[in-house]
């Protein structure tokens, strides 16, 4: 897609200016003009009431992509233990493979990991590509990239899915660059285009303020990473056993330019609001500084952090550092639990892109319920302790 402004149609109304997430539209005299900052995302197209902004489809290219088949999932293991993303991505990959009428293949790389193939088969894989080598015991960028790229060059996959773990985000871009193809990070939704059969890769952009659907039209494989916990594993395990295809690694020690001296496990540190996966937030309804104690307990039970509305900060219940909203922090956790927060616009603006919002409020008409996934009408002082109790079961 390529975006341009037709000067003759532009009325100089400036309506398009706020639609651009990248501040790439400026007024030159009475005309709107795109600057170098334009990423051609197309967010402005619908803002123009005069049809002056158009998005041109990329010119048709004749590229033969028919030789690429199957959906691959990189099944990450650490120390012989499969990461949760493996089963989740196989669950998602199953849908894509069935839609395309192609096979779902698990890629398993490591040392002495053949015992994991049954689990991958049950998680949905038709085929497991298995590479075992002592040089693959611990993840290194060089060794895993080499094996993955060799495999992909031999078997020519159509789609590759990789979990966006700290390791997947190291491997993915390197493999994509070597295969000369595109990679879309942190997808939250994957679908096959109804007619063109491309992979539609939807991801949040711009700090979650915008969603973008990305395609890789002329390159194969189509590669995407997905964060852990975003996709769902199969509800019922697949019973038919997968074919296991062994693939010998063409590796020598000197190809690996990093030396892993040690692997140290550490206790997770408490993180700040903006990178927290779970936030338990309190508002005026909490009633007092002491009232926040149970919110801290709930946050601890969920390995999360405590946030607040401006009302609670203004009332002196909790320091400003915890404030979420237009004048506080903008957050995008996986789970946001709003306790005794009515839902002023200024608060909603800071937390509306949370993946899941639970609201607890005495007032059934509280605006917070409009943007919540789960709404509990009740007194937080009663509900929160019950919630902590239930989570322990």
């Amino acid at each position: 897609m390529s975006v341009r402004i037709i000067d003759e149609k532009c009325k100089g109304c400036k309506l398009c200016l706020p639609s651009c997430p990248f501040d790439a539209i400026v007024m030159q005299g009475k005309l709107a003009v795109l600057t170098d900052a334009c990423t051609h995302c197309g967010a402005c197209v619908s803002s123009c009431k005069f049809g002056a902004i158009v998005a041109d489809a990329a010119p048709e290219k004749v590229v033969d992509l028919s030789g690429h088949k199957d959906v691959w999932v990189f099944c990450e293991q650490r120390g012989g233990v499969l990461q949760q993303t493996s089963a989740e991505l196989l669950g998602e990959g199953r849908k894509l493979a069935d839609d395309l009428g192609q096979k779902l293949c698990a890629v398993l790389i490591g040392d002495n990991v053949a015992n994991l193939t049954d689990a991958l088969s049950a998680a949905g894989a038709d085929t497991v590509y298995l590479t075992e080598n002592t040089l693959l015991k611990t993840y290194t960028t060089d060794a895993y990239t080499k094996v993955f790229v060799d495999l992909a060059k031999k078997y020519q996959p159509n789609i590759i899915l990789i979990g966006a773990t700290y390791i997947g985000r190291d491997l993915g871009p390197r493999v994509a660059a070597r295969l000369k193809t595109g990679l879309t990070a942190d997808c939250t939704d994957l679908k096959i285009h109804e007619t063109e059969r491309n992979l539609l890769q939807t991801r949040p952009a711009f700090g979650g303020n915008l969603m973008a659907t990305i395609i890789t039209p002329d390159h194969r494989p189509q590669m995407a990473t997905v964060r852990p916990g975003v996709m769902r594993k199969l509800d019922t395990p697949k019973t038919a056993a997968a074919d296991v295809v062994k693939f010998d690694a063409d590796l020598t020690q000197d190809m690996i330019r990093t030396n892993v001296l040690d692997v140290v496990k550490s206790v997770k540190e408490k993180v700040d609001l903006t990178s927290a996966e779970v936030i338990v937030s309190g508002g005026r309804g909490v009633g007092s500084a002491e009232g926040f104690k149970i919110l801290h307990d709930l946050a601890d039970a969920l390995d999360g952090v405590v946030g607040s509305s401006r009302a609670a900060v203004d009332a002196g219940y909790i320091p400003y550092a915890h404030q979420v909203g237009q004048t506080g922090r903008t957050v995008r956790p996986r789970l946001y639990i709003a306790c005794g927060i009515s839902g002023a616009i200024q608060h909603l603006a800071g937390m509306q892109s949370a993946e899941c919002i639970v609201a607890i409020n005495k007032n059934a008409d509280a605006p917070i319920f409009k943007i919540a996934d789960y709404c509990i009408v009740g007194d937080l002082h009663k509900v929160v302790p019950m919630l902590i109790e239930e989570l322990k079961n």
Binding site: P173, R174, A176, G182, I214, V263, L391
Partner: protein, 262 residues
């Protein structure tokens, strides 16, 4: 020792608000900043320079002409030299095309021992450009670095994992991408600001780095294309539990468990 630090100027997305009535972004007063992870990369390079005056730091950025401001700030923090790669031909580049441009600029700049970059930029969050620059320079990479120490012709780094870290030794030259543990970025020095404005920052176009004819840059050269973009839905069809009975709370928790949220 010669260090190249890659930085990006980004809008401070933490400050971007949404107009809940119109669903559009409110950008008034949103400043442009050096991408936070890139600042950690700068700080890491500057700490090496604190220890050894022979360290020479070149900062390279790709972006529109106004990104010069970010480079001035990096100079004021204490970096020696800055280059802005700016060209309409490179507009709309995805990570693949961006790494093409940056790696060509690094090569054109000349010899280096270490390339540092931030792990990811807050406007795209991809974490792909660092590794892809490493691939195009055929260098080893370590990402998510939160501590580093030079040791002869190698560097020993802490590479963060979700549940700990790896201690990795890698020979120079290499590419490292930085995260917050590398130390709080310093403020520009008082004298540094003045000196920074005396320095000349060359603007390199695609012609200067040999990519004027390249089919692998810009919108056209990018393997990924934006198919469409849209505002995230603000209203949600919430499931209502009208009371706070034990049954309701139990149901809520099982919903959250189904979605892997707890």
């Amino acid at each position: 020792m010669k260090i190249v630090v890659l930085i990006k100027q980004v809008p401070n997305t933490n400050e971007v608000k949404i107009d809940m009535k119109t669903g559009t972004l409110i950008r008034d007063g949103v400043e442009s900043i050096i991408n936070p992870d890139d600042k950690y990369a700068l700080e890491a390079a500057l700490r090496l320079k604190d220890k050894d005056k022979n360290v020479h730091i070149t900062v390279i950025s790709m972006g529109p002409p106004q990104a010069e401001v970010a480079l001035r700030e990096a100079l004021a923090m204490g970096c020696d030299e800055a280059i802005l790669v700016t060209d309409r031909l490179a507009g709309g580049s995805d990570t693949w095309a961006t790494s093409m441009v940056l790696s060509a600029a690094i090569k054109k700049h000349g010899a280096y021992d270490l390339v540092l970059a931030g792990r990811q930029a807050i406007d795209g969050d991809t974490a792909q450009v660092g590794p892809q620059v490493a691939e195009k320079l055929d260098l080893p990479q370590v990402t998510y670095v939160n501590d580093l120490e030079l040791k002869g012709g190698s560097v020993v780094v802490h590479r963060a994992l979700e549940d700990g870290y790896q201690l990795i030794e890698v020979k120079l030259p290499c590419v490292l991408t930085a995260i917050s543990g590398l130390g709080e970025p310093r403020y520009p020095r008082f004298t540094g600001v003045y000196e920074a404005y005396k320095k000349e920052i060359p603007f390199w176009g695609m012609k200067d780095i040999g990519l004027a004819e390249s089919k692998e840059i810009g919108l056209e050269g990018s393997p990924t294309k934006v198919h469409k973009s849209f505002a995230p839905k603000l209203e949600r069809a919430g499931e209502v539990f009208p009371d706070s009975s034990k049954g309701s709370i139990g149901q809520l928790v099982s919903r959250l468990r189904e979605r892997h949220l707890v």
